[in-house]
């Protein structure tokens, strides 16, 4: 029995010329775990929003959507609210009330549940989600990951038959991303909740999916089990989003079935003959661009030290990636470097201009039009605009840009002052693989002309691909540091999927390219 049956669905936004969805036919089974992939702007979000009638965008709709055999428009408001849960990308803005318990109760209050029912539901959920410690907290004090788990819990409170998630983990750090995905898996396995999720970050979620749908330009281009869809998507632009083991599989000439987990990838690799062909050209940067000496910092007089005795040297022309778990002080360090906060002991030394891109790139824009923000009047700055491919976006409002476009525009804005050192706070947050690669290329061209980049990130794959040196910040100090290959090759747990797969087989391989280079034939 299918829970959703989508028949010949087409959709056009009111002001748009093109169809956002073209003739979509999907049957989604009860209890299925369905994964939706596709590049930004392919129509994933539009399709998901069509499934929840409260969120259906305005526009021209043809075709029909059946929920449990009944047209979704005929579904009563109450049923639609409680049976179909929807979770959006931004963990923060979805939260309505000020306290965790009241947020959990919000949906149940709307449904008119009795106080006793709400009480027991809130208790049940918080023990299930492990909220006992945060139940009294202000929602404002939660981390992004906790917020998204809370969003999930408050939708689950209404006991939905299906939950629809639009890129739920793209804003989260890896630990909470994994927590959320495992929670979805548990809900699907144990409670039979149908899960429909659109996501770019596939490393963890891919193996849990029963079926993967790939959407491009508003149409379904592939539909298969996770294992088989990898071959279908070979050489398409979506291929780069696939999990690393699957991408490795696509690069190798083999007859076995596709590998989607690290474990399978390792088994596959061990069946190949490898050569020790991994001599890497490592660029040596010599001139010091910035140095931090013995930095101590705390936010409150009685609080703990966030940075304690931190020493840190950055060479001119390198891309330095600073990594570490949530709340370890990475962003604090960036704020110390850019002079926004002053350490109570220690010195930061540099003699060049600094630019800083905050975690949310929106925050560098203060005008209503991109051209005003980028100051392009009188044909100024056009060279830079051109280089970052922003020509066609100049008339848009910064807030209307997609994640990748916004990131490029923000880069452009901070480059206007011609800085020598560029600080980036989690630049890959919320970006798809395509936008990440573009950002990486921009960073490379910047360092080629002698600029220095320091970035803070959770994204091991991005850092392995594009940075020159990496450092791990732990307990207020940089505990390990080295070139990308020393760093990730030396780490066992905190490393890339390629490195995990090739450990013990190929020394110091941290990207797919490294592995391919060492494989004979």
């Amino acid at each position: 029995m299918e829970i959703f049956n989508i028949k010949n669905l087409s959709f056009k936004y009111n002001k748009s010329e093109n169809y956002a969805l073209k003739n979509i036919n999907i049957k989604i089974n009860r209890g299925e775990f369905l994964l939706l992939i596709g590049s930004s702007g392919s129509g994933k979000t539009t399709l998901l929003r069509m499934l929840k009638k409260e969120l259906t965008p305005l526009g021209e709709i043809s075709g029909e959507i059946l929920f449990n055999g009944e047209n979704i428009d005929n579904l009563s408001d109450r049923d639609s609210v409680s049976k179909i849960g929807f979770i959006m990308q931004d963990p923060d803005s979805q939260i309505v009330t000020d306290k965790v318990y009241s947020e959990l109760a919000f949906g149940l209050e709307n449904l008119g549940c009795k106080r006793e029912t709400v009480c027991s539901k809130v208790a049940e959920l918080s023990s299930c989600f492990g909220f006992s410690d945060i139940i009294e907290k202000s929602t404002d004090k939660l981390s992004g990951g906790e917020k998204q788990l809370l969003n999930l819990a408050s939708v689950i409170a209404m006991n939905p038959e299906v939950i629809i998630l639009d890129e739920p983990v793209s804003m989260l750090d890896p630990i909470y991303a994994l927590k959320l995905i495992n929670m979805l898996k548990q809900l699907n396995d144990d409670f039979g909740v149908t899960v429909i999720v659109a996501e770019h970050h596939l490393q963890e979620i891919f193996k849990y999916a029963d079926r993967v749908l790939c959407i491009e330009n508003g149409g379904i281009i592939a539909e298969n089990s996770p294992r088989d869809i990898c071959a279908d998507l070979k050489d398409s632009i979506i291929e780069s989003t696939l999990p690393i083991p699957a991408r490795l599989f696509n690069r190798l000439k083999t007859e076995s079935s596709c590998t989607i987990t690290v474990k399978e990838g390792r088994e596959l690799l061990s069946s190949f003959k490898v050569s020790d062909n991994n001599s890497y050209l490592e660029l040596k940067h010599n001139d010091l661009a910035l140095s931090c000496k013995n930095i101590f910092f705390r936010y409150e007089k009685q609080g703990r030290d966030i940075l304690k005795g931190l020493n840190f040297n950055i060479k001119k022309g390198e891309i330095y990636a600073l990594m570490g778990e949530n709340g370890c002080g990475k962003s604090t360090l960036l704020n110390v470097i850019n002079g926004n906060i002053k350490p109570y002991r220690g010195k930061v030394r540099f003699n060049s201009r600094i630019a800083y891109l905050p975690q949310n790139p929106k925050y560098v824009f203060t005008k209503d039009k991109l051209s005003d923000d980028l100051n392009t009047a009188d044909n100024k700055n056009l060279e830079l605009v051109d280089k970052l491919e922003l020509n066609e976006l100049l008339d848009s409002h910064p807030y209307d840009l997609s994640g990748g476009e916004l990131q490029r525009a923000a880069m452009c804005k901070i480059l206007l002052s011609d800085p020598d050192i560029i600080l980036l706070d989690e630049p890959t947050k919320g970006l798809d693989t395509y936008a990440k690669d573009k950002l990486g290329d921009i960073l490379r061209t910047l360092t080629d002309i002698g600029k220095t980049v320091i970035l803070v990130s959770h994204d091991v794959e991005f850092c392995a691909e594009y940075s020159d040196r990496c450092g791990l910040l732990f307990n207020g100090e940089i505990t390990s540091e080295g070139s990308v290959r020393e760093f990730f090759g030396g780490n066992i747990f905190f490393t890339t999927a390629a490195s995990k797969m090739s450990k013990g087989i190929i020394e110091n391989a941290v990207t797919i390219e490294d592995i391919i280079r060492c494989i004979d034939g």
């Binding site: 849960g85 959006m88 803005s93 979805q94 009330t97 009241s102 209050e109 925050y363």
Partner: protein, 281 residues
């Protein structure tokens, strides 16, 4: 530890309401002294001592200001102390000012205690019982403000570091307009999230975590009866032309003492109990 907080908010609200009501309308030095002492002891148990003494300095200034100001404008009273610019300054007006000042400080200290006990959850509960939609508005506002401030700081920092505006004021205004746009953007997502979770359906209920038990009923009865006795058995003063005590009513005074010392006693009792139970463990 905050055991007065464990009392049902409706009951503790009445307690505060009665006390502040009597302090304001009795205009009676005896009541004021009792009320102030009760609040002072109570605030020592629920606030940290630094905060209490900081507030004490502020209250002293207010008290002194009002006490001095009243005789400058009111020249009634029989006992003339001295003249300023041919205006007589009387003892009665000075006393009247002192009583007025003491009333204001009494209200300030009780409101400080009220603030400590009535966190957002209790406030929302009180309003929510009467106007459910107002409760949600308060809760959403409390959610909105910290995020707004944080976004503003980040926008302001970003434009300061990247050197977009040299002038502080211009930067401030630009950041402010940007944070307004940003909050409107996120308000759209919030409203989607509310719609998706059924806001606007008929018959919305109100969830709270308070239970009304026997102890609450007992306290409520004590508070109400103490208040009624206070109102019935008044002690009256006359300030002008001479400061005179018309009638003194011990029952009324005692019942007000009960009312204003009970919060402190409840707090103290629980504290002693706690210590005692620890020594047994």
């Amino acid at each position: 530890m905050n055991s007065f907080k464990n009392i049902h908010p409706a009951v503790s609200f009445f307690c505060f309401f009665f006390i502040i009501f009597i302090i304001i309308f009795s205009f009676n030095p005896i009541y004021l002294i009792i009320g102030y002492l009760g609040a002072f002891l109570f605030s020592l148990t629920i606030l940290d001592k630094k905060a209490v003494f900081k507030s004490l300095i502020f209250q002293l200034i207010i008290f002194a200001l009002i006490t001095v100001t009243n005789p400058l404008f009111s020249h009634n009273g029989a006992t003339i102390l001295f003249f300023i610019n041919d205006n007589r300054i009387t003892l009665e007006a000075l006393i009247y000012g002192a009583v007025l000042g003491f009333t204001v400080t009494g209200v300030i200290i009780w409101f400080k205690c009220f603030n400590m006990v009535f966190d957002s959850e209790r406030l929302i509960y009180l309003f929510g019982k009467i106007f459910p939609s107002l409760a949600l508005v308060i809760s959403m506002t409390l959610r909105f403000i910290p995020g707004f401030i944080r976004s503003f700081r980040q926008i302001n920092t970003a434009s300061k570091i990247n050197g977009s505006y040299r002038l502080g004021m211009k930067r401030f205004l630009n950041s402010f307009s940007a944070v307004i746009t940003d909050s409107m953007e996120s308000a759209i997502i919030t409203s989607d999230s509310m719609k998706a979770r059924g806001y606007g359906l008929k018959g919305r209920t109100f969830y709270h975590r308070f239970k009304f038990n026997l102890r609450d009923l007992v306290y409520l009865l004590i508070f109400i009866s103490a208040f009624i006795i206070c109102v019935l058995f008044k002690t009256e003063f006359e300030f002008y032309p001479n400061f005179t005590l018309n009638s003194i009513n011990v029952i009324g005074i005692i019942s007000f003492a009960v009312l204003s010392f009970l919060p402190f006693i409840i707090e103290l009792k629980e504290g002693v109990k706690w210590k005692y139970s620890i020594s047994k463990i």
